[in-house]
Symmetry: C2
Subunit: 648 residues, 2 copies
Amino acid sequence: MALVFHKLVSLEEALRIIDEKMGGIKPLGIESVPLHHAYGRILAEDVYARVDSPPFDRSTVDGYAVIAEDTYNADEANPAKLKLLGKVEVGDIPNIEIYRGTCVEISTGAPIPRGADAVVMVEYTKTEDGDILVYRGVSPGENIAQTGSDASIGDLILRRGRRIGPREMGALAAVGCSEVKVYATPRVAIFSTGNELIPISEKLKPGKIYDVNSHAISAMLKDLGVKVDFHGILPDNYIVIKKSIEKALEKYDIIVTSGSTSAGFGDIIYRVFEELGGVLIHGLKIKPGKPTVIAATEDNKLLIGLPGFPLSAMMVFMVLAKPIIMKMMGMQSFGEENIVKAKIPIRIETGKGRRHLIPVQVLSSAEGLIAYPVLGDSGAATTLSIADGFIDIEEEKQYLSEDEEVAVKLFQPLKIPSISIVGSNCPALSILLDEAGLWDAKQVNVGSFSGWRALKRGEADIAGTHLLDPETRKYNIHMPRKMGLENEVEIYRGYIRTIGLVIAKENPKNIKKIEDILREDVIFVNRVKGSGVRTFLDIKLSELGVGEPEKKIRGYTYEVKTHTAVASAVAQGRADVGIAVGYVAELYGLDFIPLAEEYFDFAVRKDRLSKESVERFIETLRSESFHRKLEEIPYYKTCPETGRKIFG
Amino acid sequence: MALVFHKLVSLEEALRIIDEKMGGIKPLGIESVPLHHAYGRILAEDVYARVDSPPFDRSTVDGYAVIAEDTYNADEANPAKLKLLGKVEVGDIPNIEIYRGTCVEISTGAPIPRGADAVVMVEYTKTEDGDILVYRGVSPGENIAQTGSDASIGDLILRRGRRIGPREMGALAAVGCSEVKVYATPRVAIFSTGNELIPISEKLKPGKIYDVNSHAISAMLKDLGVKVDFHGILPDNYIVIKKSIEKALEKYDIIVTSGSTSAGFGDIIYRVFEELGGVLIHGLKIKPGKPTVIAATEDNKLLIGLPGFPLSAMMVFMVLAKPIIMKMMGMQSFGEENIVKAKIPIRIETGKGRRHLIPVQVLSSAEGLIAYPVLGDSGAATTLSIADGFIDIEEEKQYLSEDEEVAVKLFQPLKIPSISIVGSNCPALSILLDEAGLWDAKQVNVGSFSGWRALKRGEADIAGTHLLDPETRKYNIHMPRKMGLENEVEIYRGYIRTIGLVIAKENPKNIKKIEDILREDVIFVNRVKGSGVRTFLDIKLSELGVGEPEKKIRGYTYEVKTHTAVASAVAQGRADVGIAVGYVAELYGLDFIPLAEEYFDFAVRKDRLSKESVERFIETLRSESFHRKLEEIPYYKTCPETGRKIFG
């Protein structure tokens, strides 16, 4: 039996072990930089004000510097009349002193002349024969920013460990910090390892995949503000990997690899890391992310071996590598916390024994935020670009119940999208949103039925739906009653799309009709349960009297999630036939045999009809320009009812 | 009467006018860049998958590729025995086909060989004489990532207008986007204007202030990801400013100035902008931020004239310039929304007619978040570095009531600090926190009494307090009863600090005792009402039988907020004497006449005593190392009770 992971540890244990073995994860050093080079760096000193801010009493308005007492009785009817002695401009050192009955013209930011204790705004004055009439009284100190009122010499301005952003730059400049001490920035070298990887610049070859991690992980490191160099793709070769990392250790503080961490057969990274330093962690009790290796050299350089699968690599980077690197950067707080509470709309099974990190999309409803899990295995690379954050399910939990409250760790501040559309996905919907200018629309693709549930729960403004009523053979208009939403929704007719058999170019297997999928020499590719197409197929099969289809159709259990995946399977010869919208056959250069036309409609919550974005959506659905674009898509067409209300 | 603003407009009007006059604010162009140069850029195209991800069916685990049916009855007692045909590694093109009763060794990520429809994890197998024993059944498709299951050719991956960060980089690489179309990045030139400004690298001269805005605004632009060049400080000179901006317009898309926008006397920026293009906005109905000028040239280059005062400049940048520039960058959503609901702990008066933007510090209590306004005039530069965000009070509102709910626009994701300390500030408290390693402590400096209120409301873990009981002449221990917190708090003895008269070096005015502040030739600097020192002074004055002190003490109405501000006023000769802790006299090189010793204690909520950070705080208060550091501060000392519980 092959080697398995040495000892799986939890994230907390991992952090503790690494901290302990490295004698405390510490910043790499301190350097002094001029303020204009300090942007993005981490303060390495507590900063105290070196000058007062402002450094003198100054006017906060344009007006006249006065002695407040002279104005106490002034009002619209009885202005105070003051003799104008002169003018103080910004940057001046005032050489005028005022006394009772006099005033001095003063600009915003100019120093208060001796004797004055308040400033009257110009708006409440008039000039009359060289004198100033004041129509409103001021109290002592009014419209004056006192010396040091912002910060006085010796005041603590910023504590160390803080990242220097715009607000910090402003504060440091105001109190005279022309140089600041900052922590040294770690230098990080990145490697991708694996015989299967080829760079994005090359053409994909059979058995190969694009190197995703170097791009994603480099960007994550850049987000942190470290210096990062990508050192290329290495083959699964112990000698090559060892030599490359050894060389990089001469120049870099941290080495991040991804791939070749899997314990089963290769285990190369483990062996290289053990050789070059000492492995501290081999295997994490999280999913995704188990095959992670962390080591440290004798001089405390850090070796981080991320899993090769992109989702795993990115999640492990976020939950483990990032907090360690932030500590090495001198950031005092472990990670920016950006957590929101949300409810999950469906039960999620996880199983005990490992902590689960599940990417989610977040929608808002009247009762708060809702977190939809984004499905995808650990090899998925696009999952995270759809997700807003992730939920973290502890080891002991076996499942989360529907409506259970969870904490979502956001990837970035939550944007409130102008419109949220949940339900079935369709390429034409993207075109519609584009035409409507609703680029920030939140789309959650969970199938027609779940779209209706999201409408009911108030999470969606609109649901894209193509559900056939087996009884009436009509599309969608049976749903409001079925869902108990008769008074809550309207349905707008969308468009018609043709579904049918997707087959290889020139039909080598001579497939003619749906019954052909039962043939011994034909491999079928199916859609997942709950999809419109699967429902359509199962109705057809039952009409044909086909029981136990999983035994009678080769590939019936080969389920894919999208129309494009059906076409892809046929295009690559993994299957001979599948059912999908005709559009994808065209996209993949395949043949297509139409089987049926279906209506793709839009159900809208009535309480969202007044939203500008929803109005725009419906208007666009009716627009000629959208109709023209839609008719350009193969196997799509509008109908006279397109954009009309067909229910509600 | 001087020129006033031409027409004040609201933020919404301003955005509408600018958009209209510029014929719609649009991105500046589109360029194509290789993926590895795309980090941080804004996508200018909708991206569709060019290859399938993954591009072939692959194993998600280390194990054995099998025909699922062969394993259906396998369990711990009755393993299925399969003939091992060979091995598939990642990067291989499998040339083995499996049939019933056989299997192939396979690594994570390797292509599934023909014939196999599932993979058994290595953990559930054993090798026996070259055969493989399988101890757990798998179902078809198990542990296989299907071709295109992440994304299939033709799937919409990302919409345009999205910033390319780590997750986007990963998705783009996975689907074969080696080049992406991105929007051109605006080039921005920054100027600071004003005769009063000097660069941070020089020594401050009388009447001059440091240029804060170039640092803060450059960093804000860098945060957005635009190219920014600072073009230096310009004097308030029409010709110089006009020529400099004119020249910059040859190379830059956006010019940002700050200063010289004030309408009252100079109005230079208005005239220059009018000359070079056409002024669209002159004056905003917001506070801070009124003196803002926006113009556009004929070729749609944007001129942004921010107010000179730092807080105004930064706020106007955030609420007006940022959304415009983001639109010019092609970002489809107007700003990252990062809004939290909070309650305000005190009534805030604003007055009608202008929208108010008030920086706040955010604390959490059992009932949710609390937003404490951070005081500071529009010239303040350090205010924003303390604040977590700001609240936006609409024009029509005159005030916010205590406990009113407000929306806080956060500057960055909210961090939950390990400890929150509200109340009176003291330099020794910073040393204590530093010693305790509580760098991320949230400190809200609002004075002793407000600290007690924050304790009562559950917003603070700890309050720093030095309140004298006029009856018992004891410090702080009368407060729990007064606040109705007898059962909720404990008080820990802090340390003793000496307060007294702060006077110029060598005492030129021969001040000896507190009564000297009544002298005709002496100017006093007072502290604000509610401060411990002010309370002390007023008690003393009443003991001395001094009524109407504002008439009898010169400078009694000259109120400052901090101990350091008292010292600063004396050091600069703005006042002859003030009352403060002796430490600041030392800091400013002033003389000091002790008047009294006061206890600075710490009240702790009992329900927070178990927090690790609170424990650490109290331990440190007791620690020898802190005591040593404290004794080094002039006029500070510990007492035998330091760190001991004196109440509760």
